[in-house]
Symmetry: C2
Subunit: 343 residues, 2 copies
């Protein structure tokens, strides 16, 4: 049995879902993977923080945060401001970084992850920022310290996209991919097909908690471009900044165009794509009319898909239905198991 | 660099495609996996056999077999009849079993694989027979000898179905799956949607080399039932014999029924499914009308799909387009890399 101390930096919807999943899977981790764990640090932005090197009671932590209390009362020590000191006080072996992050800089997530890796601590995140802005640096830092930097949940939640690229297709070369990777825009387009106006569809997506108050990051294709950059960087080995992705959002698609596509038996999708041919690389996010000959055609609402073109197989697609915080949490759990099992 | 001697038992379309893939990937295996190899044995049913412990020239072997010659001339020694003696003479570390196999008994593949595993040799096969009839026994034998028994190519060719279940979804429990797993019947149904009669569609599938002269193994759902049994055994950990799969083929679907489904916006598919609920297990192969809300709806011609229901994610689907001997060969290569990398 190997024992690991876990530090949860950030304890919002994803962090809490991860804590619940850890509780429900602790017996199976012991039985099937010989892994035991204690969560020895939890930090939040507005609900206090706790360190207990003997292990924090996760049920209590969830209850406290959900009832508006503070984690401070669970702490056996003063929680250091400095991340390195915090991780040392928690005697952490695995960091889970799930705090609000700036898309532009990837901070503070990048610095938090560096603090972990530099001290021989595995780092797992559901934040895209660190992957997009510092994948190469963080991966090299992890290797130098004989630990892992994993981020399965950043694209298609817990669906094993990155692990497929890392180990599921050995000796295969990814030549190109296509996908529908942004739930909000796909939901908006699906609602417009049902007769809603663009504004009504946005309002609906907001009302069910999918779209943010300012939906422009999704609607303008920015979130999708970040995902394209992350997939291209990791699956194709081509470092790419999201700014370099040709990007067009769904704002200009009219209800009339949606209807015209339907009459042709087609659907508008915000298509992510990337390819390399003879050393030339191209990545884009743009609305496309898709027919039923493509698996992208049936991607409804918040479902997502990535279709890989490799040198060894026909097109291979992965589809994830019904995403949510619990599926993001599963990506973190898979990263944890894969990270500690890979040494 | 680790060096492996490979024995190819069977050298038909799949064996030759595998030899070509080995040639094209030998540099990448060295550079990315520190694996070098020599094929030290090749046996065929009607084109002779060869053993050369220094390595057989694969280009020559392919040319000889394709021009109707005999591999005997490449052999540096008399090829033993007995499999154990043969593998020893070849100093093999990995066996690739791809000979014609009896669906009813899984022989001679099972005995060939046992000979390898008993002697500490990894065994890889694209034949379903050994998985269906002896998965438990062969897997235990492999474990006892600290080697691997892998068979990625038996379902959906080289698509990573089994490796997804083995390592891609750690700590996940597969509760159920659905799929379209038999290319021949799916092609026949697709052709019938295009207006062909059942007999015309079968003749077409035969003319392009997809259906066999006697298509009953596919049409009656037997091939699909074998795949359901293999997936259930491996992904769900429930040993199942294909005879225990409720099975109904596509023979009774009329052109009128196909057309009626189309008019409803649906399609007939030969659906493979399995589920467990509260200890109760059920597996079936049966024609079903599928609507566009399911990813099975867009599976055309020889494309295949498996949709997994787990306890941790929403439904997760894997779709493989354009299968062929080269994609089956890729499954063998992936098994080879995974087997020798897993120790």
């Amino acid at each position: 049995m190997s024992h690991y101390n876990l530090a949860l930096i950030g304890f919002g919807n994803v962090g809490k879902a991860f804590a619940r999943l850890l509780l429900s899977k602790q017996d199976s981790l012991k039985a099937d993977y010989e892994i035991s764990f204690a969560v020895t640090a939890i930090t939040t932005g507005s609900h206090g923080s706790a360190i207990d090197a003997e292990g924090i009671d996760l049920e209590k932590a969830i209850d406290l945060v959900e009832s508006g209390g503070s984690l401070d009362e669970l702490s056996t020590t003063v929680v250091p401001e400095n991340m390195v000191s915090l991780l040392k006080a928690a005697q952490a072996q695995v960091l889970f970084e799930n705090t609000p992050v700036s898309y532009d800089s990837g901070q503070p997530a990048i610095d938090t992850i560096k603090a972990a890796l530099n001290n021989g601590i595995h780092a797992v995140t559901a934040n895209k920022g660190p992957v997009v802005h510092a994948y190469q640096e963080l991966t090299e830092l992890a290797e130098a310290n004989n630990v892992r930097f994993y981020f399965e949940s950043t694209v298609m939640d817990g669906a094993p996209v990155f692990s497929l690229g890392r180990s599921g297709l050995p000796a295969a070369k990814v030549l190109a991919f296509k996908g529908v990777l942004n739930s909000t825009t796909n939901l908006i387009l699906s609602q417009m097909e049902g007769g809603q106006s663009f504004d009504e569809a946005v309002a609906y997506a907001q009302s069910i908690g999918i779209a943010e108050t300012d939906p422009s990051g999704d609607v303008d294709g920015w979130d999708a471009a970040i995902k394209v950059a992350a997939l291209m960087t990791v699956l194709m080995g081509i470092p790419m900044n999201p700014d370099a992705v040709d990007r067009k959002g769904i704002g200009e698609i009219s209800s009339a165009e949606i209807e015209a596509a339907q009459q042709e038996g087609k659907r508008w999708k915000l298509v992510c794509s990337a390819e390399r041919h003879d050393g030339h690389v191209h990545a884009s996010v743009a609305p496309e009319m898709v027919g039923p000959e493509s698996p992208l055609f049936i991607i409804d609402g918040t479902t997502s898909i990535v279709q890989l073109e490799t040198d060894v197989l026909g097109k291979l697609s992965l589809i994830e239905e019904d995403p949510g915080p619990h599926t993001t949490a599963y990506g973190l759990l898979a990263d944890f198991i894969n990270a500690v099992s890979s040494n």
